[in-house]
Amino acid sequence: MNPSTGTARFRLAPGDGLFDGHFDGAAILPGVAHIALALSAIGCAWSSVGDLTGLRDVRFTRALRPGDEVEVALTTGRLPTSVRFELRSLGELVSSGLLLFSEVTD
């Protein structure tokens, strides 16, 4: 059974390929990479999860840059197949939203 909450921490290595070309001279993490971090955290915290089928009200409020440390906080959404995430860096919210998943089939 999956827990109702989870956390994970990441450090954004300056040489990470996600910064390549985005953008030259002023690298910031693409928005889709915030979602990738949330999914990585879910993969660590949840024992089973279906396919990602939707996103709701995902907000990107602050840019992440090379070297930043990120904490991901997860809570189950109102639907059993949804997970709310928050990404914070130095305690400041950088992005948040709801991820929807398909039912897990055995």
């Binding site: 953008f23 939707g54 996103l55």
Partner: protein, 148 residues
């Protein structure tokens, strides 16, 4: 109608593997149609597949291209501007993956704007079949969000 860009570097600040748009097919009446491809070397790919949510980046790049084309029509010396994806209001993902190194079709239609924020309805298709659609907001500048 003004000419469409043959070189995407004039409308997109993304370079290298980060630039996923490959061409702009049309840009008129508040909508842009573009082509895209995700290289197998993209850092979010596993070599054979790309995560379906990467389609959000395709839509954001299409929206950024349209904004740059519209700016150029009003002021020919203008060019690419670093914008930000600030919100995904909703996204529906109809496939688990996007194929890599395969032509993709991307559309972005302007739904509303309160500069510097604009709202777009985006759609990503493979072989004409929609695999992802979403409503996103972008910010025309680098003061907010996460880049597009």
């Amino acid at each position: 109608m003004a000419e469409l860009p043959g070189n995407l570097s004039v409308v997109l600040p993304h370079t290298g593997v980060a630039r996923l748009l490959t061409g702009v097919t049309s840009c008129q009446n508040g909508a842009v149609r573009a082509t895209a491809a995700i290289p197998a070397s993209h850092p979010l790919c596993d070599g054979r597949h790309a995560p379906i949510y990467l389609g959000l980046e395709l839509g954001a790049q299409a929206a950024a291209a349209m904004e740059a084309i519209e700016r150029a029509r009003g002021k020919p010396s203008s060019g690419a501007v670093r914008g930000s994806l600030v919100r995904v209001r909703e996204a529906t993902l109809l496939a688990p993956h996007l194929p890599v190194d395969v032509p993709l079709q991307v559309t972005a239609r302007l739904e509303g704007a309160a500069p510097p924020v604009a709202i777009y309805r985006i759609d990503v298709a493979v072989d004409g079949h929609t695999v992802m659609h979403a409503i996103i907001s972008t910010h025309n500048g680098t003061t907010a969000g996460s880049g597009s």
